[in-house]
Amino acid sequence: MPDPEKRRTSLGDIVTNNYVWRSIFRHGYADTPRNRVLQVSANVWLHLHPSKMRRHGIRYRHTWCAGGLTFLLYLCTVVTGVVLMFYYRPTGEYAYWDVKYLDFDIPFGMIMRNMHRWAAHGMVIFIWLHMFRVFMTGSYKPPREFNWVVGVNLLTLTLLLSFTGYLLPWDQLAIWAVTVGTNMARATPLLGTEGPFGPQLGMTPRYDARALLTAGTVVGAPTLLRFYVLHCIFIPVIASILMILHFWRIRKDGGISGPL
């Protein structure tokens, strides 16, 4: 047994063994099983986790952390997105110039916009990686069938979030990408002017599935406002609710899947 009296002072001791430190942190952290459990269960951010979990679940090679990182990227888009909302007006006259102003005049405006954009792209990539790994580990099998279904809904919503956001800079790239995308709705069976049986059911360019999306016959200022509301309120609220359900179900389904 080493003599406790003769312990060398480490850097950690120098930092923590003084008056100022103790005035902030009254006592140290004792690494006991009880404290390890409390760290998780008594912490508002961590209590989504179980306090103990099966060993394979913490391995990078099992989950690739892809679900967790998808969530982190979502949080990044929420934070930066709210910042952007302070400067952006979703109207035909202002939208483009507000974004220009963000890029060139507002302190940190450019980096907020860049982070918002790249985190959104990253989220699309990571959600695909996550789905891929969940499939490869067969984690959709009982009892996790329903959580897979929730996941597919999240995937759809994530793509719609990205798509509605794509229009907001109101530049050439935005308007034409969204024109290509929404044109497909014209061909919806029954509900589109150019879809099978659409005209017979009385669909016109002004009143069909595409007009519902674009709020008119072309991608114009009304479309911008519609996409803005969908992008900033409607889809994020639904996606957030589904994410809470997703995380809750992971716990209820017995934690991260693993060999039985």
Binding site: R36, N114, W118, E145
Partner: protein, 273 residues
Amino acid sequence: MAENIQPGTIQDQEEVKVQSGRARAALPAADLPDKVHTWPYLVRAEFISGCILLLVLMVWSITVDAPMEEPANPTKTPNPSKAPWYFLGLQEMLVYFDPWIAGVLLPTLIIVGLMIIPYVDINPKGNGYYTFSERKFAISTFLVGFLGMWVGMITIGVFFRGPGWNLFMPWDYWDPHKVVPLTNIDLPYKIGFRSQMGAMTCGAILVLGWLVGVPGVVWQLKKHTPFMRQLGMMRYGIVATLFMIMAGVLVKMVLRLSLNIKYILVIPNILNI
């Protein structure tokens, strides 16, 4: 050291794995406790991966600016007009199918098809671990569909499509006046059917044979095997139909790119496949 571990302490429960090689040798992997504390083991893993991701995102955002082109101008259509990259798979399908199939039916089938996977895959093996040999069919189908077709078509759309949605190599000059002779013909015509009725019959036989006939014959041949009994007609029908549609999309793509086949079945004003 294994002999220094006090019963009832943390070491007793999990730190065995970080002990010296001797301790590890004394405790074979199977005897390691199966459960570990989330704090610090999972939280540490999450923290590290989160930090790396945020670092990459920040460096990326400092060095690469989000695109910003000229103001929106409804009178000036760029050529090509591309959807966002993650939708280019759908835009690419417009080359091979009519808009309502490419833009509405197939996306719906992809979403619905993904959602029903857990309810039609009755193989209990491979639940929670990586294996190929125990789920050959499921994994091969997924790899072809996801990596081969979805990711593949996005790659074509991003790197190989230029003005007029013509094929270009990534290093080619995008010539907006490139003329591609339109020699697309329908499959029945190619086989030799010249009358409209004949072509329609031929097309209908091909399409129905593919979507209904092939799965039906397989069912008749295999329905008494234990596996098919367990699967049941309902689940078999759903899996087989979706599978043949997915394979059919692939076949149609190959026919179009290699033989310039436009349609297989044409019923004027009603249906083109």
